[in-house]
Amino acid sequence: MCGARMNDQEQQPRREARVEPVSTARGLGQGRDHHWGEFLVENAIRVLGFSAIGFVVLIFLFLLQEGLPTFFRVELPILFGQRWYPTFDLYGTMPLILGSVLVTIVAIAIALPLGVATAVFVREVAPNWAREILKPMIETLAGIPSVVLGFFGMTIVAPLVRDVLGAPTGLTAFTGALLLAYMSLPTIISVAEDALDAVPKSYRDAGLAMGATRWQTIWRVVVPAARSGIITAIMLGMGRAIGETMAVMMVTGNAARMPVTADSLFRPVRTMTATIAAEMGEVARGSTHYHVLFGVGIILFVLTFMINLAAASVIFQKRRRGGLR
């Protein structure tokens, strides 16, 4: 309706005395419509936004409510002890924590160089047509359900690890780390690739113009310029790795032993996530074991939170110095 009125006006010959007041009236009318729409959209978004936050808070509160009793019911030395035998009321979470840490760190140690190198290849080296094919393929990898990967790990990777290493079993921390590395690669590659892509072309020119070779420009100018983005990529990959459950549970053997000996990497291990997933189904609600599993959840949450915090602080620090352009 508003639009029709406007068209009518434009067809009329322009006379200054008329145009002024009419255009003012139009401006007001439009403003009011606009305002109502704006009001609705704004509030709808606000409600949605707050409910999302609300759910997160509720989940967090639930986690606290169910998990915090752990710290009163089980003595701390036992809780952070070395033996996890719930049937004998021994709830030492240390093997689980160290198990998660070991698998995650090894996974990142594998995925980091591979991921960054692949990102550099896709962004800086591969010809355009190859990049167009590679990018969506890598992003598709991220969508493979982890249970499928776990199955793949059990039937293919684990026997391979066993035969190659001559170990008694292929279900080891290393097998889990391999799978996790594979799972976090797509995230690392695509986030790092975006970070490299965001480096202005002029950085490359600047590097080349000062007599750097193409490789020197990539490694010493472009990659450092994308540093904060690449760190984010690693943190996201790490977050994915430490929180992953299914694949890890299927291939790590799930023995709650302390991974402190030199060969631990090639022995079975048990992670926090696998423990929760495996045992939650069989515990009586309200029992000590039940609360401890939530307690493990809290520990996991705190670890993940710290990783994210570290990532954020790196990025903020970089921003404050004006390093992101």
């Binding site: 202005p200 020119d205 600047a206 113009a209 000062m210 007599g211 010493r220 004006g322």
Partner: protein, 262 residues
Amino acid sequence: MVEQPKIHLEHVGFTYNATSATTGAEPVEALKDVTLSIPPHAITVIFGPSGGGKTTLLRLINRLNDMLSGTRRTGQVLLDGQDIYAHDVSVVELRRRVGMVFSLPLPIPGTVRHNVTYGLQLAGMRDQTVLDNALVRSLQQAALWDEVKDRLDDPATALSGGQQQRLCIARSLALEPDVLLLDEPTSGLDPISTAKVEHSLMELKKHYTIVIVPHSVQQGARVADYAAFFLMGELMEAGPGRQVFINPKNKRTEDYITGRFG
């Protein structure tokens, strides 16, 4: 000109998207049959309306366009009489002899010191005293030393825009190039920083051959020993700065200088 030109362009043509079959982009003929001599130890001003091919020309002189695919180049670019596009020329060596400063000041990630000495380190220089001397010399030449001598280990991005631009000039000077190419080096700067940069150019031309795309006609007129006017990829007029800016031979040059178009 009695002296041998530092740079000589012989019938140079350059087309972007020349092989557009794959991308479908229209070919752009950025330079058309340009023949131009650039004398040593002087400031040559390349000016003209936007899209005239000035940046393209500068990037041709230190082969920054090599990386682009689908371009076509014709003619010859001679540096000291030597064809820089000949097969036996090392691009890296060439770029060390021909420095370039871009219109956006773009320090590489790292400290002020790192920015200046990095090019030398890439060239294999490890001797710390040599690096330190080069650091002081090039910062002084770029008229930046006094402002940053206590901040050498601060991140380069903490400097002001004008300081960053002079830092980029210092970065090029550290390599002791023969030629310094500057593409609108003062486009983002305030008048005082601009004056400082212009002033240091006047000093630098004693030792270097300078080619500059000015960010205004006035700036061109202020610094030019020689000037060349480009319009839509064609060289319309070239000659001593005074003559081109005060008494142009070509009608189009005159129109542009007096502000009748562009």
